[in-house]
């Protein structure tokens, strides 16, 4: 298989405009003759479904939640970047583009990132017109802040609920199209397979999560906007239902999967409290603007703190190690996410971690409160402190917060070309579920930008080009391809239900998650990865022989839903390990212990690894085949990141 | 469906009617209270009886009273229908445990019960006084001006000597004052009145400010005042009404 990214020629600034002009159009009167399926209703899915409906296509939208408004984009707190330069601080499309490529540690495709930066401004205009209540100054104009250590203030925000507000904006646009009859919405419906007819994506197989009915839906094109795969790790900041099944099923049907090992570990999450925990909660990154990160200077002191003999506040200044400030004097506590996370892991591995489990570091506001007063800190972080107190029962105004890194975002995903089409013709991937814009590490406030860029401003253009080329003929769901796919899905469900083993789905998921976290988490090495691969294979085999499911398919059955997802996580987990093993370098969220500088920093290998890994599925229990899309950097100069 | 009908049959429209009729009844309470305060004038009931005559004979007032009767009926019927409608909105199964006390005042949840108490009272109250005043035979009283210019009772007529001709004479009135004084010698009636006024107080405690909220009047600057006024109103007005039977009872 040869992969072609279809990057338009010309200078970086002209590519998108030129490409838009060159795309074929579907006559307005003919748009209603085309059906498009959109799976997922987060930022990318809802915005795509709404925009396609507005253009006149017939859209069918699917989500597993009870309402499209609940997709996990809703949980994003911080903000959304745009190159508006409202602050007059030297921002520009080019600078946003440059920062994003650099922040992604030079593993993203230049042309896609430039387009993202270019449409970022339209996104803000779009959202304001929809009634998104962004923060404003007294003069009535939009307020911006600097986020994630950016040198300019380009982040738009709506309190700590930016994701929610943007999603509700997209949801309202989607609702309008549902009312107009242009979008048919299928909530509580999970996609279980994609259907190919003559090599093209022509529909999907779904399960109605209330009745269990397995149904076929046919269309001219299918857009997957199904989010990331962070839940492979069991514990993550993802929602409980987030899963990789749609993307993985597409992968099994021929869509290449890219850079699966690029996962982002967010440094400021509330630490795990025990083995009963189901989910990790993120604390906004903005806390690092004022909070100071530290651990006790020695393992002995840390031991005493863990046992409760010493309290954090008892430790004098000289017994505290503000390790980020010490190692990175110029960026201090504001180093990028991957660097902050890794260092937290190191100090905890040294035995200097705090909290019951020893897997936590302090984030201390004592000095900020001394400097600015309680009220200023309350105004800035009041609701975050409140949220923290509700979860932990500790008052961050009085004792330092405890934080630990957690899986947050997955940069990898389905490989897509410049049009966001996967290697299956007619199958598109938008938002977190594609690999495209963030390289090996995503910058803060960029995920929302990408989701909406794909949904509002990219797919609605590029999909027309494809549709104009394939004709209006519909494929009926009575077609053999649908019947076969349905039968296959039913067989998979029956098999799972009939294992009648002894271990619950959750137990398997936890075991998989632990393997992934221990060996394919913040730091990886060849030995550990090889071990993990073997273990995952064993676990997967065992799963199909010993998993315990109850009930039937013909009812609401949470265990069955989860069992199908975990089955796919097991396969994806192995591919993540393969990818991490193959990538003999450290970059962004992927840190191979064998590849670090003398100072312990990530060491990239641009000569051998400046490519996108695109894996092809070769069949059950067969190794996936690696394809490479070489990355060409014509505008951005490759440098080693340094935050010292 | 015409827009009027559509608006007034919506949930908000029906609440609007409850609110407007409620406000009208609140205003009526003030008028009624001012009139009844005449009972406390030390003039042998002249001011009160004259007021009662005026209220039952003046054409404009009589017209207004018909509006009042309709308002009461509307307030009751619409509220009762809404309460039933709201109960159905809960669906077939109700909660096994509810802790409403932690999220809402008791009065607000029991407007139906409180309203029913007030309604029962109104019926008894009307049959006690209003019916007799309007249609029945009552004691009568004749007043005269004394030398000092005060008004004094010239002659009392018992119910048995009730005569419509006599009523046409100057300074002769149906002696409602006496009926009130007699009625409030009965303990059970006094207690009933006090209880009813308590019911009214609680009904108003929620109803007063709720009426404004339904009209869409909720403002950072004015609502606290409306709430305080409502509370004061719901204490003072029923208390004054209740003071009448109490005072007459103890006057004996």
């Amino acid at each position: 298989m040869k992969i072609d990214a279809k990057i338009p020629s010309g200078s970086i600034a002209e590519k998108w405009s030129k490409h838009k002009f060159n795309l074929k159009l579907v006559n307005p009167a003919n748009k209603r003759k085309y059906d498009i399926i959109v799976v997922g209703t987060g930022l990318a899915g809802a915005s795509a479904a709404a925009s396609l409906g507005e253009l006149g296509y017939n859209v069918k939208a699917f989500c597993y939640q009870d309402s499209p408004r609940r997709a996990h984009s809703i949980a994003a707190q911080g903000g959304i970047n745009a190159a508006k330069n409202y602050m007059n601080d030297g921002d520009s499309v080019y600078r946003l583009f440059y920062d994003t490529v650099k922040g992604g540690d030079y593993r993203a495709r230049e042309a896609n990132v430039y387009r993202l930066a270019e449409v970022s401004n339209n996104i803000i205009d779009q959202c304001v017109a929809q009634g998104v209540p962004f923060a404003r100054e007294y003069g009535g104009l939009l307020s911006n802040r600097s986020f994630g250590g950016a040198q300019v203030s380009r982040t738009f925000y709506a309190r700590g609920q930016t994701g929610q507000q943007l999603l509700l904006g997209a949801y309202s646009a989607l609702s309008r199209m549902i009312a107009a009859g242009k979008v048919k919405m299928y909530p509580r419906t999970e996609m279980l397979d994609v259907v190919l007819v003559d090599g093209k994506a022509r529909g999907i197989i779904t399960r109605n999560m209330v009745t269990g009915a397995i149904e076929s839906h046919s269309a001219h094109a299918v857009v997957l906007a199904t989010g990331g795969y962070g839940n492979v790790f069991f514990l993550s900041t993802n929602a409980m239902g987030c899963n990789a099944s749609a993307a993985w099923r597409a992968h099994r049907k021929g869509a290449l999967f890219s850079n699966p090992c690029f996962t982002q570990i967010h440094p400021t999450c509330i630490p795990v409290h025990g083995d009963q925990q189901s989910k990790l909660t993120l604390m906004s990154e903005s806390l690092r603007n004022d909070g100071r990160v530290w651990v006790p200077r020695t393992t002995e002191l840390a031991e005493k703190v863990r046992k409760g003999v010493l309290k954090a506040n008892d430790l004098p200044e000289e017994d505290r190690d503000y390790y980020l400030e010490r190692i990175y004097p110029s960026f201090g506590n504001l180093v990028p996410r991957d660097v902050a996370s890794r260092n937290a892991k190191y100090v905890c591995d040294e035995g200097r971690g705090v909290g019951e489990t020893g897997l936590a570091v302090y984030l201390d506001f004592r000095d900020a409160i001394k400097r600015d007063g309680v009220n200023t800190i309350k105004a800035k972080y009041g609701n975050l402190f409140q949220m923290y107190e509700k979860i932990t029962d500790d008052d961050p105004y009085k004792v330092p917060m405890m934080i630990y890194p957690a899986v947050h975002y997955t940069m990898g995903g389905l490989w897509v070309d410049y049009n966001l089409m996967t290697t299956i013709p007619g199958l598109y991937a938008a938002g977190e579920c594609n690999f495209s814009d963030h390289g090996a590490n995503r910058l803060g406030a960029s995920a929302l930008m990408q989701g909406l860029a794909d949904g509002y401003f990219v797919i609605p253009y590029t999909i027309g080009d494809y549709l104009a080329g394939i004709g209006q003929a519909k494929v009926d769901t009575s077609h053999n391809a649908f019947k076969e796919a349905e039968a296959e899905v039913k067989k998979r469900i029956d098999t799972l239900l009939n294992v009648k083993g002894t271990k619950t789905v959750d137990q398997y998921h936890k075991e998989l998650g632990k393997l992934m976290w221990d060996y394919c988490g913040m730091a990886r090495n060849a030995e550990g990865l090889k071990f993990a691969k073997a273990e995952i294979q064993k676990l997967r085999q065992e799963y199909w022989q010993n998993v315990k499911l109850l009930g039937t398919n013909e009812e609401m059955n949470m265990t069955l839903e989860k069992a199908l997802r975990v089955a796919d996580f097991m396969e994806l987990g192995e591919l993540m390990v393969d990818d991490a093993l193959m990538r003999e370098e450290s970059c962004g969220g992927h840190f191979r212990e064998e590849h670090q500088t003398e100072e312990g920093e990530a060491k990239r290998d641009d000569e051998n690894f400046a490519f996108v890994a695109a894996w092809e599925y070769k069949g059950e229990n067969k190794p996936a085949e690696l394809h490479k899309e070489e990355l060409v950097f014509e505008n951005v100069k490759l440098t080693q990141r340094s935050y010292k | 469906m015409s827009w009027v009908k559509k608006t007034l049959s919506s949930t908000i429209g029906r609440k609007l009617l409850v609110s407007l009729t409620g406000i009208f009844l609140i205003i009526f309470l003030v008028v009624h209270l001012i009139g009844n305060l005449q009972l406390f004038k030390d003039d042998g009931g002249y001011a009160f009886n004259a007021y009662a005559k005026f209220m039952t004979t003046n054409t404009l007032i009589v017209l207004a009273s018909y509006v009042l009767y309709l308002t009461i009926i509307a307030h009751v019927v619409i509220s009762a229908a809404l309460t039933l409608f709201n109960r159905k909105a809960r669906g077939g199964e109700n909660y096994m445990v509810t802790k409403s006390s932690s999220n809402s005042p008791w009065t607000s949840r029991n407007m139906g019960v409180l309203g029913t108490i007030v309604l029962i009272f109104i019926v008894i109250h009307l049959s006690n006084f209003w019916y007799h005043m309007k249609f029945g035979e009552t004691p009568m009283v004749k007043y005269e001006k004394t030398m000092s210019g005060d008004i004094a009772i010239a002659q009392n007529f018992a119910v048995e000597s009730f005569s419509k001709d006599l009523l046409k004479q100057d300074m002769v009135y149906k002696d409602l004052y006496k009926m009130v004084a007699e009625a409030f010698k009965q303990e059970w009636l006094v207690i009933l009145y006090i209880l009813a006024m308590a019911g009214l107080a609680f009904h108003l405690a929620h109803g007063f400010q709720s009426a404004f909220q339904t009209l869409g009047i909720n403002h950072k600057k004015y609502t606290p005042f409306i709430e305080k006024l409502g509370l004061a109103f719901s204490v003072i007005v029923p208390a004054l009404f209740a003071s009448m039977p109490i005072i007459f009872y103890f006057k004996g």
Binding site: K84, R176, G274, K390, M556 | L16, F85, N103
Partner: protein, 253 residues
């Protein structure tokens, strides 16, 4: 570390929308006070599954109080005993060791039970579809800073927009009224100049849909606002009344 606690759980069990439900009592042991309420249910479900019993179905997703999916009526209150949080943010330290906890689904005619504690809240979606949007197509639009919006209005709009659509307001209201939910969306869009063009239509259409869905009428008890996990307040309901009545009496439609 504090020792685990024991609880008696009374949970509503119902197979599907057409079957009859009933309460079932479970005992659960060794629960850490630091566990979240939903984690406690996870543990119960794991135990039930191990015993071969059907796990308790309940809606949940983000588990950080923003998606609005969780919908449990705990000990007589939506989202349990604590203020301004969702059930997923509730922790077991809020319950005494040995306490009996009654868990029920939202009860409203407009929210039929699907299974156990799972209810159908699609009525909310249909209300938004009736008019909870600003009719702009995707495309080139005026610059975001073209219309200044007074900070105060933007803040009030944000207060209202914080609604997560969980339905606690309906669950708490003795009339199962959806006024707080509807008023939050109407308020958000009425407070912004962008929403002005459709303001009257929106109020009429959304209230009409709300009534059709079978929600009760508001009797201003304030239970909704008191139980709202996002602190949406009653001024929004007054604003909805105002918007609706103005639209009805002064509007041309």
């Amino acid at each position: 570390m504090e020792k685990g606690r024991t609880y008696t759980l009374k949970i509503w069990r119902q197979n599907n929308s057409s079957s009859k439900g009933a309460f079932k009592t479970y005992t659960i042991e060794n629960i850490s006070p630091g566990s979240s309420f939903l984690e406690m249910l996870d543990i119960l479900n794991n135990e039930l599954e191990a015993k071969g019993e059907d796990p308790v179905h309940f809606d949940h997703d983000c588990r950080e109080g923003i998606c609005g999916m969780c919908s449990l009526f705990v000990n007589g209150r939506p989202h349990g005993p604590e203020e301004e949080i969702t059930a997923c943010q509730l922790h077991m330290r809020s319950f005494k060791d040995g306490e009996t906890i009654v868990i029920e689904p939202w009860r409203a005619k407009a929210f039929p039970v699907i299974k156990d504690l799972v209810v159908d809240r699609s009525a909310f979606d249909r209300i938004i579809q009736a008019g909870g949007f600003i009719s702009v197509n995707t495309g080139p639009l005026p610059d975001a800073n073209e219309i200044p919006i007074p900070k105060q209005n933007a803040d009030l709009a944000m207060d209202a927009a914080a609604c997560i659509g969980c339905g606690a307001c309906v669950a708490a209201c003795k009339n199962a009224s959806a006024m707080l939910f509807v008023s939050a969306k109407v308020s958000q869009l009425a407070l912004l100049p962008q929403g002005n063009a459709e303001r009257k239509r929106r109020a009429l259409a959304m209230v009409d849909q709300m009534d059709q869905e079978g929600f009760g009428a508001c009797s201003n008890t304030g239970a909704c606002a008191a139980e709202c996990p996002k602190g949406i307040d009653l001024t929004n309901i007054a604003r909805l009344n105002r918007e609706y009545l103005t639209a009805s009496f002064a509007g041309a439609e």
